[in-house]
Each structure stands twice: as structure tokens, then as C-alpha cells.
């Protein structure tokens, strides 16, 4: 499959990337390309220009700063998986990264690319929302609660580039997903985080956009145990139906994956 024609530009730095973006008519930024390029091959996406920011070393780093883990937007999933820092401090996040796609996809795909695309079945949005992360861009800092707006819709403005994501350290966190066996995208993925500010539960894959489940958060706040969410289900009304799973099945999976995510968090 061959994409429509476009003009490729490799940016030497963020300033050049923004200038190149501004001078093109229908540009997109290219990071790892593991969602964008398949979409372009299927001709579902047809940018006039691709601005390649995938090789900017300034965007690729992992470090710990004052109670947070900060991950550069250009950091590959494989580097998050291999990071001792993430593995020790937020093992649930390292575990999630290790479940994205497959090793070859993880060697290209980036954290920033996943969040900028905000595919409804992507894994990272669940961790970012549940961990109450902050998304730092070339213009500002956006709280996770204000970032995800809808199907492929985020708070990012035209030409705005994610530079890093700051994850506050949780007390405990875990992720469980029921994956599509071919693509490994989440049919339903649930990330649960217990923090000093309370418990947060974020669901990806089930609906058009990642969302929180307040009733589960309250129950887990009282007792952080898998059984606390066993009797709580979400309505299928707003969930997605496709050839992989009906909305009703997805609703069922939200409860099952939430239980498993809490079990994973408490097992560590």
C-alpha cells in the first residue's frame, strides 16, 4: 500500500519543526509513525507535509525530578520498557509500555506520538489520565484531565508539539488490557492508580476517548482491593461497537480489566 504523495522534512530542532509546520498547508508532525504511517498507507490520512521530529535527541530522555518521572515526548516505548527508573518507580507504567504493539513497533513508537494521536485504542492515554500526568508542550503545560477531548481530539493547538510528560509517583498502580490479538491495540485497557490524592481509574479502548470511572474510584478509595470493583459496571450506551467487540462486551470487560489492574497494582 502506498500513501498519497507528501513532502518530507526532517527538522533539526523544535524551532525549525514549528517553522516548517507553519509554512506548509496541511502538515503533520512525524514521530515514530506507528499509527500515522499505517493510516497514510490506507489513505485515511493525507497530510501535504510531514515534519519529522522523531530523531530530535532533545526529546528523548527519562529522569526523576522532585517526586515525578519525566519522560521526553520522543522517547520510544522500548526505552520506557527498558528503563530501570520507570521500572522501579512506576512499574505499572513500564508494564503498560511493554504491552504496546510488539517489540518492533515499540522500537519506533513514541510517548508523545501516542498522546498527540490519541487513538481511542492506544494504551498510554490510560496511564496519563489515571496518573494525573502533566503534558508539557512548546506552548504550555496541560493537565491530563484537560487534555483528552474526544475521538482523536486533544487540547493541542495547530503546530503545538509535546515535549515531555511528567508523571507524579503513585503509591501503587497497575494496568490490564484485553487486546486485539493481531494489532495488540486495546479492546479495553484499564489503568488504576492509588495516589496521595485518591484513586484514579482510566479506561481506554472501550469508547471514543479515554475516560475515568468515578464510581470505581470511590469504591477503591474506601478499599483498594480487586473485589471493590467487581460489582461496578459502566453503561454500554456510550461505548464502541465494532467487529472485534460489541459495546456490551466492552462494558463487561471494563469491570474485568479493572479488577485485574487492581490485582496487578496490589501484587507489586
Amino acid at each position: 500500500m502506498i500513501p498519497y504523495t507528501f513532502n518530507y522534512h526532517r527538522a533539526a530542532n523544535l524551532a525549525e519543526a514549528q517553522a516548517l509546520f507553519a509554512s506548509a498547508s496541511e502538515a503533520k508532525f512525524l514521530a515514530g509513525g506507528q499509527t500515522l504511517i499505517p493510516a497514510m498507507k490506507q489513505r485515511l490520512s493525507a497530510p501535504s507535509d510531514l515534519i519529522d521530529i522523531g530523531q530530535l535527541q532533545e526529546l528523548s530522555f527519562i529522569n526523576e525530578r522532585g517526586g515525578t518521572i519525566v519522560i521526553g515526548a520522543g522517547t520510544r516505548h522500548g526505552d520506557v520498557v527498558a528503563s530501570a527508573c520507570v521500572g522501579n518507580r512506576i512499574p505499572g507504567l513500564a508494564g503498560l509500555a511493554g504491552e504496546i504493539g510488539d517489540p518492533a513497533v515499540r522500537n519506533m513508537g513514541t510517548l508523545g506520538g501516542s498522546l498527540a494521536t490519541s487513538d481511542p485504542a492506544a494504551d498510554y492515554p490510560a496511564a496519563v489520565l489515571a496518573l494525573s500526568a502533566h503534558i508539557v508542550t512548546t506552548k504550555r503545560t496541560i493537565a491530563a484531565d484537560d487534555y483528552f477531548l474526544g475521538l482523536f481530539q486533544t487540547a493541542l493547538e495547530e503546530g503545538e508539539i509535546i515535549t515531555e510528560v511528567s508523571f507524579p509517583l503513585p503509591r501503587r498502580a497497575g494496568y490490564a488490557k484485553f487486546r486485539n490479538p493481531a494489532s495488540h491495540y486495546a479492546i479495553v485497557g484499564v489503568f488504576v492508580a492509588q495516589t496521595n490524592a485518591g484513586v484514579r481509574v482510566a479506561v481506554t479502548g472501550a469508547g471514543p476517548c479515554v475516560f475515568r470511572v468515578a464510581e470505581m474510584e470511590e469504591a477503591l478509595g474506601r478499599n483498594f482491593d480487586p473485589d471493590s470493583v467487581a460489582g461496578i459496571s459502566v453503561t454500554a450506551e456510550d461505548l464502541s461497537s465494532d467487529l472485534h467487540a460489541s459495546a456490551e462486551f466492552r462494558a463487561h470487560l471494563v469491570t474485568v480489566m479493572a479488577r485485574r489492574a487492581v490485582a496487578a497494582a496490589t501484587a507489586r
Binding site: Y8, G33, Q34, I37, K41, L50, G54, A104, M108
Partner: protein, 155 residues
């Protein structure tokens, strides 16, 4: 058309490509390295796996221009003509191929798995092979071969 220069299997190669040319087409059609296969073409099956700067990637989901200046290793570059890389030898020894279509991608992924130290137990090998499909379903012997090769190769 723009010029890209890629070091492929140790040799510097330059070619004019369209911006939309995928790395797998540069390898197969321009450079004649047809050992790298196109299977699903949707980045799921892994028949197109090559090493980009030493890491396994799916060459059907990367533009050739992204690889400009990079080192690429394909199945052809693993061992000199007439000899086999230890993973290739293990695949032969363990009958780890039936039709053989998935084999180049399987071997390139297997080397990446072994290098990352993820070939120590069968469950991990199977999980790590999640992005490589064998439609003959000959996974049993593929896992056998990788497990055996890992013992021959330093991680």
C-alpha cells in the same frame, strides 16, 4: 526525487526515492534485497522486520527518508555467503520453517530478542514474537530454534 544514503549490511548505498517510498520498497525494489518480505502490509505480521541502527523495526511502516544516514541490516547481511548466522543455523537445525515466508522477519526479530536478553524462557519468547506471524503456525519449532540459538549467542 531526493537522495537518501543508507548503510545497508555494511555498504553505503544511495538512491533517489519519492518522499512516500517505504523503507521496504527501497530495500526490495531499488537495492534488490528481496529477502525482506511484505506480508500483511499493515505493520502486524513482521515479515518485513529489519534492524535499523541495531533495533528491530517494521520496514513497511517506515519511510526510506526516515532511515537517511542510518545503518540497516537485512537477512542478507547476517552472515557471509555460504555461511549461516547462529540463529539461521538453529532455524535449519530445528525445522523452524515450513513455507519460509515469515522466516526472514522471524530471524531478524529473534536476534533482537536474544540481544535484549528475552530468550531465556519459552513464554517470554512467545510474548516477544507477538509481532511476527507464521501462517503455517509452526511456532513450536520457531521457539525451539530461538531457545537453542540463545544458548549459542552472547546476550
Amino acid at each position: 526525487m531526493p537522495l537518501v544514503s543508507v548503510t545497508v549490511n555494511g555498504e553505503r548505498k544511495s538512491a533517489n526515492v519519492e518522499d512516500r517510498t517505504l523503507l521496504v520498497y527501497l530495500l526490495r525494489e531499488t537495492l534488490g534485497l528481496t529477502g525482506t518480505h511484505i506480508g500483511c502490509d499493515t505493520s502486524q505480521c513482521g515479515a518485513c522486520v529489519v534492524h535499523l541502527n541495531g533495533r528491530a523495526v517494521k520496514s513497511c511502516s517506515i519511510f526510506a527518508r526516515q532511515a537517511d544516514g542510518a545503518n540497516v541490516t537485512t537477512i542478507e547481511g547476517l552472515a557471509p555467503d555460504g555461511t549461516l548466522h547462529p540463529v539461521q543455523a538453529a532455524f535449519r537445525e530445528h525445522h523452524a520453517l515450513q513455507c519460509g515466508f515469515c522466516t526472514p522477519g522471524m530471524i531478524m526479530s529473534a536476534i533482537d530478542i536474544i540481544r535484549r536478553g528475552k530468550a531465556n524462557d519459552r513464554d517470554t519468547i512467545r510474548h516477544e514474537l507477538g509481532g511476527n506471524f507464521c501462517r503455517c503456525t509452526g511456532y513450536q519449532n520457531i521457539v525451539d530454534a530461538i531457545e537453542a540459538a540463545a544458548k549459542e549467542m552472547p546476550a
